[in-house]
């Protein structure tokens, strides 16, 4: 008897003891006496405080000239403030008394409160909004907490209600049934916890700048690359002297973050801050031939570099911009005998502190930048996917944008009648269909008449048919900017093959149509989540915005059948050029302005 009892008895006793103590300790809410402007309230009401939130009996609300209507279940109530404001709040029963979280009603009752030890002091006078704690002169920051009516909107942690309080929070939303399920799925304790650990932000502008520069420097991340391309597209036209600017505020106010990326920013920040004295020294440029279809262009320097890379709009070359770098190479011209790369020309000080490399290509390539290598960076070049494929073996999905009675797309009046995008896109798509068929390509249309096709069904059709390419045809509209004109071709995110196809099509379509080439752009430059039809396509996919319906000149072209025919031929020729990995013919180059 002795042995087993000694063992199990002790164990169970200690177990129960531990449970009891921790249990009671967790559940116990401190009792606080409530005072109003330093004087005890009538009836000496007692509140409960869990270290975060104060719960007060409903009598206190009434003492503050508010009224409470308790629901039959006694788990919620409608509080009406002195000013007439009404709010439904959760009620909880603590120590047998119905209580309400003072934070929920403090704003309507025009009170602030301070908890000091076991005394809660309510104050009815309005405090200056920006610095509520200061007016509480006697408050010791170590032992007290001040809340003011200015606080609720700032309460980022407000969604994590203290669990010790166990509030019965029944949704009072009468029409909550219509809310989308998707919007709710991420809610829950985990999400709340992540929010709580988010670093504090000092201000919006530096934060945004920090995230910008951060993503620009992040290398393997697809989004970071989008950023690089985004910046570079503009840089092709004009060397942008302020491109170091986004990272400058980040250097002055380093974001409160930890981890490797942070160090990257910090070191980068220092480089950027000293704009006058660039610290990256470019030593050499080499081309490693992996095989005839692949090459690696390496820029060797004394520190890591995050360059901005983009295809030049008018010329078969890659423009590489390296901020804060000086050229310390033996030459400024490199000739490579690789089938993909002709050579590189370096332009020192293309803009203040900016070194620009022009990589002359002999074929259409996809490129992938590996920035931030210890000794510079690398650009991997290779032929696009499908290169060398026989046209007869290919399936291309052509997607005329919009369609159906509701989805007309954009429209504009032209010579007394309204022109709809859905009609223009269908008309052009049909012509593309004919052209591609004539080339022997298997073509599938997402719609052949004015019928409604959902956004999801379009790429799905391409996926299900194992299509090799997906080309969506659209017409753009810039409300409020009738001058916007030209051809833009979007690709998703930073997909290399789609980007190469977009580059070719922007070139061929704009040239054939006599329109400004607005270039190949990532859809994420427009929408943070990208475009629906491109996002879901599993093959190289592009969306061609042929021209602007809002521009009178573009519109006059768009409605002409011969223009549509030229566009169709350009799209077909662009697809052929992509498959042959051939650089499209270029218009007389508007040589970059440096």
């Amino acid at each position: 008897m002795g042995g087993p009892f000694r063992r199990h008895g002790w164990l169970s006793v200690s177990f129960l003891l531990v449970l009891g103590v921790t249990n009671g300790w967790c559940r116990e809410l401190a009792t606080v006496r409530i005072q109003l402007d330093g004087k005890p309230l009538a009836g000496n009401p007692v509140g409960r405080y869990d270290g975060k939130e104060l719960f007060v009996p409903l009598d206190v609300v009434r003492a503050l000239k508010g009224s409470v209507a308790v629901s039959p279940k006694q788990d919620s109530g409608e509080v009406r403030g002195a000013s007439g404001a009404v709010r439904e709040v959760a009620l909880t029963r603590l120590g047998g008394v119905l209580m309400v979280a003072l934070d929920d009603v403090a704003g309507m009752l025009d009170v602030t409160y301070t908890v000091r030890g076991d005394i809660c002091d309510l104050r009815t006078e309005r405090l200056p909004l920006p610095s509520p704690p200061k007016s509480e002169g006697s408050t010791k920051p170590t032992s007290s907490e001040t809340r003011s009516q200015a606080a609720p909107p700032q309460r980022a942690d407000g969604n994590a209600k203290p669990a010790g309080a166990k509030r019965e929070a029944r949704s009072s939303e009468p029409d909550s049934g219509r809310r989308p399920g998707g919007a709710r799925k991420a809610s829950g304790p985990k999400a709340a916890a992540t929010e709580l650990t988010r670093p504090e932000k000092t201000g919006e502008a530096p934060e945004r700048a920090a995230s910008r520069s951060e993503s620009a420097e992040r290398s393997p991340d697809a989004k970071g690359k989008t950023e690089i391309e985004a910046g570079a597209t503009g840089a092709v036209q004009t060397p942008d002297p302020v491109e170091g600017a986004p990272s400058r505020p980040a250097a002055q106010q380093p974001p409160v973050r930890t981890g490797e990326r942070d160090r990257g920013i910090a070191s980068r920040g220092t480089t950027t801050r000293s704009t006058g004295a660039p610290s990256t020294h470019i030593r050499d440029i080499v081309c490693e031939a992996v095989d005839p279809d692949q090459a690696r262009l390496r820029v060797l320097a004394d520190s890591s570099i995050a360059p901005r890379v983009a295809m030049a709009k008018g010329e078969p070359m890659l423009v590489v911009d390296i901020p804060n770098a000086v050229l310390e190479t033996m030459t400024t011209e490199w000739a490579f005998g690789h089938p993909l790369v002709v050579g590189v020309r370096a332009i020192s000080e293309a803009a203040p502190g900016l070194t620009r490399l022009l990589v002359k290509l002999s074929r259409l390539v996809t490129y992938r930048v590996r920035p931030d290598m210890p000794d510079g960076f690398e650009i991997a070049l290779r032929l696009p996917r499908l290169a060398g494929r026989r046209l007869e073996e290919m399936t291309v999905v052509i997607d005329p944008g919009h369609g159906g009675p509701a989805a007309t797309g954009c429209s504009a009046m032209h010579e007394g009648r309204r022109v709809y995008e859905k009609a223009l896109t269908l008309s052009m798509a049909r012509k593309v269909y004919d052209r591609l068929r004539a080339m022997g390509i298997n073509v599938i249309m997402t719609r052949t008449d004015d019928s409604a096709v959902s956004l999801a069904a379009r790429p799905e059709l391409a996926n299900n048919n194992l299509a090799d390419l997906f080309v969506s045809i659209h017409v753009d509209d810039a409300p409020g900017n009738p001058n916007a004109s030209g051809t833009t071709v979007y690709y998703h995110g930073s997909d290399e093959n789609s980007r190469a196809l977009a580059y070719v099509l922007a070139q061929t379509v704009s040239m054939a149509g006599g329109l400004p080439n607005r270039g190949a752009r990532s859809d994420m430059e427009r929408f943070v989540t990208g475009m629906a039809v491109l996002r879901r396509a599993e093959m190289p996919a592009v969306l061609v915005e042929v021209a602007y319906i809002s521009n009178a000149r573009d519109r006059a072209k768009l409605v002409r059948p011969d223009f549509q025919d030229m566009v169709a031929r350009a799209i077909a020729e662009g697809i052929r050029a992509y498959v042959e990995a051939r650089l499209p013919a270029v218009e007389p180059p508007p040589l970059e302005g440096d």
Binding site: F15, L19, R87, G158, R167, A169, S176, P180, A183, E421
Partner: protein
């Protein structure tokens, strides 16, 4: 030897007990099973604005910022009104707009992205908002280029940071 084992067991029990208590009462504890999903969400207190918009009471700042963006016009169709606004626990701002907003789908990629980015910019400065869901007549709005506007991050990305011609 036996005494040592008992002490170790007791320590283990203390640890387990503390862990259990923590799991049960810590703020991040999952809700007990059986409670409807509705209750996971933050208690919603609604205040009516002067134009009848039903706004979660502690999100008036969001509503004011959004209304300013809407009334600024631009890519947001004329006559669009804020119908309701709610912020879920996880920081998804559910914004219901009046049916005039559907005209966004008649304005091309440029117009649609400008409208979306105007709303994102209006909510971006508020740390409590992580993403944006736009509803029109009770359904998630589907942009004719960008797809459903459901849980669109309000910060980050390159969209709308420039080049909106």
């Amino acid at each position: 030897m036996r005494a040592l084992a008992v002490v170790l067991l007791i320590l283990l029990m203390i640890g387990l007990g503390a862990w259990w208590a923590y799991q049960t009462y810590a703020p991040s504890a999952p809700p007990p099973p059986g409670r409807p999903v509705e209750e996971e969400r933050r208690q919603v207190k609604v205040t009516a604005m002067d134009d009848g918009a039903q706004v979660q009471s502690d999100c008036m700042d969001l509503a004011h910022s959004l209304r300013a963006a809407i009334s600024r016009g631009g890519a947001i169709p004329e006559g669009t009104r804020l119908v309701s606004l709610e912020l879920t626990k996880s920081g998804v701002c559910l914004v219901e707009l009046s049916k005039e907003f559907l005209q966004v789908n008649e304005s091309g990629t440029t117009g649609e992205s400008e409208a979306q980015n105007a709303l994102r910019r209006a909510l971006g400065p508020f740390d409590k908002v992580k993403s944006l869901t736009v509803l029109v007549v009770g359904n998630v709005f589907e942009g004719s280029h960008s797809g459903e506007w459901s849980e669109i991050p309000v910060r980050g990305g390159d969209a709308g940071s420039g080049g909106e011609q």
